[in-house]
């Protein structure tokens, strides 16, 4: 135990030292981070309050349905954290040089595992904790809860909830490693993707939100009661249900029921974590050897069949080889293409579900809100893709960048090749996504123009901001893209992207609102005028950000390597 504390103390010390570097980049990173985090936390706080106000006072959803929807959101959140932890844990537990170092020292496997587990848990969850705290603060403040509520929710609900998800993820990872040693990595990966998608589909199929609303609203106005008779039985065994039920009973002031859910969450998180440590003590070392064997069985083979470099794609020879190098690095790194495929699948599910949504009969206000929410979610998906795949692309050059930088290749070509490499797929995916997610509005000509124009602007801007941010904050010390995308610089760029999106979504909402409110009253020319002015604002604003980001990005790439 003492050894564990000793190592954790030095890790903390080294991390604290890294965060207060006095370089221009370090200062921008630290001051900017504090400013943006505060802005983001305050924004999330008010957004949570406004959402609760709208759901409870405007559309009279009732406490029971509110907490059931919260439970659904928490379920998706639980799976996202779970999947994220499997991917990140694989690199921290099996690919880290620190593990190699510690294996040669008299440190127990359980201690090494705990160090890496918490390293992973806190490293990748800083932004998550902040968002979580802001949401809890907004929720508590809306219901005017006492100070103790915030601490209880943070330490006894939120952290145990995340801990259960992360612990299960690593237990699952151990199982997957064992399975991979028998069936091969591809079968395991495909199984994992199918498993997650099936879980989400099955959950929503069984829970059936539409049915639940119909059943509960039959009791209107007495819709704050606990209608557990409408809950499927399996729901009672899920941590998201315990968390949302704790909140429901706390708001209702029934401490016995709320304490029961709290007890469940804390106990299950402790048991899951202890089980994880016991399993890790026996299996971590073995699974580490499995990962080495898998690596060699998969990679230590001769690849002579076809050399992509022998056939030209682009006339410019340097562009040709730089582009092919990016392509090979992406397609030969399972962590990259696998994450990409999962994101595409999630996007496809989202887009397909949106085509089936019918809101024609809804009120104009509700129509404009739904339209904007779909738009915001689409833009958010693109922002997530940009931070995960665009931001790390320059830092991923890592120690290998010397070859290109010492070769007679202009910095512009290096930068534009990387930009072009990531822009093209994101552009195609983004346009298809926005078309399908807004499919029900396809006859609303003016809206579709604003949607497509602004979405193109968003894609260009987010890609430019992320690649330039990645260039500005490049360290070349880390080559793992997932870890690069979780650094302080990346969080800062992600928050900047979100602020940009809020401004653009604001402009889109104004047009959408006018459209749905007044489309029957205004002449086509006036509606067209609104559309054009909105599109021009979005275009000019995006162009300014794009240009600033690109100039900064190229300039940063010229720095000493």
């Amino acid at each position: 135990m003492l050894q564990l504390i000793y190592i954790l103390f030095y890790k903390l010390k080294s991390n604290l030292k890294l965060t207060v570097e006095l370089t221009p980049q370090g200062l921008v990173k630290n001051i900017g981070s504090v400013f943006l985090y505060v802005l983001f936390v305050v924004g999330t706080f008010y957004f949570t309050r406004a959402t609760l106000q709208y759901l409870l006072n405007e559309i009279h959803l009732g406490l029971f349905l509110l907490h059931r929807f919260l439970s659904m959101v928490l379920f998706v959140f639980f799976l996202t954290v779970n999947l994220g932890n499997i991917i990140v844990s694989y690199s921290t537990l099996y690919r880290s040089n620190e593990v190699l170092f510690l294996f040669t020292k008299p440190v127990s496997f359980a201690n090494i595992f705990i160090i890496k587990f918490f390293d992973n848990f806190f490293y990748s969850s800083t932004t998550l904790f902040l968002i979580g705290m802001a949401v809890i603060a907004g929720y508590g403040s809306y219901f005017q809860m006492p100070v103790s509520f915030y601490f209880i929710v943070l330490f006894l609900v939120f952290i145990p909830f995340l801990l259960i998800s992360a612990s299960l993820a690593v237990l699952l990872l151990f199982g997957l490693m064992k399975l991979a040693s028998r069936t091969g990595i591809v079968t395991v990966v495909v199984g994992l993707i199918v498993g997650y998608i099936s879980s989400i589909y099955a959950y929503f199929k069984i829970v059936n939100p539409y049915r639940l609303i119909d059943e509960v609203l039959q009791y209107y106005p007495n819709i704050d009661f606990y209608f557990d008779k409408f809950d499927p039985v399996f729901l009672k065994y899920l941590p998201n249900h315990w968390a949302s039920d704790f909140l429901y009973w706390t708001i209702r002031g029934e401490s016995t029921n709320s304490l029961f859910n709290l007890y469940l969450l804390v106990m299950v998180s402790v048991i899951t974590f202890m089980l994880l440590v016991v399993v890790a003590n026996k299996y971590y070392r073995k699974s580490w050897i499995v990962s080495i064997e898998l690596k060699f069985s998969r990679k230590n083979k001769i690849v002579r069949s076809w050399n992509i470099f022998q056939k030209k794609i682009f006339r410019n020879q340097q562009l040709d080889v730089l582009y092919k190098k990016e392509l090979l690095q992406f397609t030969r790194e399972p962590g990259q293409w696998l994450h990409f495929v999962i994101l595409i699948l999630f996007m496809a599910i989202f887009a397909v579900s949106m085509t089936q949504l019918e809101i024609k009969s809804a009120q104009p206000f509700l129509q404009s809100v739904i339209y904007t929410v779909i738009y915001l979610f689409t833009a958010f998906l693109i922002a997530s893709m940009a931070i995960r795949f665009v931001y790390p692309i320059i830092s991923m050059e890592a120690n290998n960048f010397w070859k290109v930088k010492s070769a007679p290749v202009s910095i512009f070509l290096i930068f534009w090749t990387k930009l072009f490499f990531v822009l093209l797929p994101i552009l195609i995916i983004g346009v298809l996504l926005s078309l399908f997610s807004h499919w029900q509005f396809r006859h609303e000509y003016y809206l579709m123009v604003v949607t497509l124009v602004s979405m193109l602007c968003i894609i260009f801007t987010l890609v430019s901001v992320n690649i330039s941010g990645g260039s500005f904050f490049s360290t070349f010390n880390e080559k793992n893209p997932i870890r690069i995308a979780s650094t302080q610089g990346a969080s800062l760029i992600f928050l900047l992207s979100l602020i940009y999106l809020v401004i653009i979504v604001g402009a889109v909402y104004v047009t959408t609102f006018q459209h749905f409110q007044q489309s029957n009253l205004l002449a086509a020319e006036i509606l067209a005028g609104h559309t054009i002015s909105s599109a021009v604002f979005i275009g000019i604003f995006s162009l300014l950000i794009c240009a600033t980001a690109l100039i900064l990005g190229i300039k940063s790439l010229k720095r000493d390597y």
Binding site: F296, K299, N300, K301, I302, V303, R304, N307, I308, F309, Q310, Q317, Q318, D320, V321, L322, K324, K325, L328, Q329, R332, E333, A398, N399, N400, W402, K403, V404, K405, S406, A407, P408, V409, S410, D560, Y561
Partner: protein, 239 residues
């Protein structure tokens, strides 16, 4: 020809390279020695365009790297101290990649790659991904790639790191031959024996300044004062 003119590099308050000037004629094998942190790698990084000098200039065959970086880089074959490769590429793909960066004509490319693979004896593993290479294998591939476009100036930072005796012998032989054919070799090393064996001229840098710069013959006469050992001379100078 390599010319360093009052070259200085300052990082914050620390002067890594302090106003050094050197002139190395074509065909000379130049050895650049110095203790750890003396400024060897910083000097090399300024010569290859990886660092921009705080003041002073680097001229390679008459061209200034600040003014014509691409033209200068075209003439360099650079081998760094750590053999970092794109791990997902095979050795052969890496050679094609480097050839493309230097815009080598396609007509002669295949033949040159075959030739260099044979010369450095890397055929058995050139089609495996670089992530499986040992340090020595990676180092041999990097040296092969650096010489592929036939550069008139070869800049090497610690060439023998990780090489087995046979590979080291191949590298020494190839570098000596290149030099005899007119290429200029600028080699930084810690291995005094290698410097003595290969170099026509040796300079020692300490605390960012050149403290010793003599030809091979002059070096021999200096050595006599230190029991005939370059090691003793080096230790005394860099104390």
């Amino acid at each position: 020809m390599i010319k360093l003119q009052e070259l200085t590099k300052i990082f914050g308050k620390f002067t890594a390279v302090d106003n050094i000037s050197l002139e190395i004629p074509s065909g000379q094998f130049f050895g650049f020695l110095g203790p750890n942190g003396a400024g060897k790698t910083t000097t090399i990084k300024m010569m290859t365009g990886l660092y921009e000098s705080t003041s002073g200039n680097v001229f390679l065959n008459g061209s200034n790297i600040k003014k014509n970086p691409l033209e200068v880089k075209r003439q360099i074959g650079y081998i760094p101290d750590q053999p970092y490769l794109y791990e997902k590429l095979t050795g052969r793909e890496y050679l094609y990649f480097c050839a493309g960066l230097f815009k080598m004509p396609k007509s002669t490319l295949e033949g040159k790659i075959k030739e260099i693979i044979k010369l450095f004896e890397i055929e058995p593993w050139v089609d495996k991904r670089a992530e499986n290479y040992s340090q020595g294998m990676a180092q041999r591939l990097i040296i092969a790639a650096a010489l592929l476009h036939g550069p008139p100036i070869i800049i090497i930072d610690e060439p023998m790191v990780g090489l087995d005796p046979r590979s080291a012998s191949i590298v020494k032989k190839v570098l000596k031959e290149k030099c005899e054919k007119g290429a200029t070799v600028f080699m930084s090393t810690h291995i005094l024996q290698v410097a003595e064996e290969l170099c026509d001229r040796i300079a020692i840098i300490n605390n960012g300044r050149i403290i010793f710069d003599y030809s091979h013959d002059e070096l021999q006469s200096f050595k006599h004062k230190y029991d005939g050992k370059l090691e003793n001379l080096f230790l005394e100078l860099t104390e």
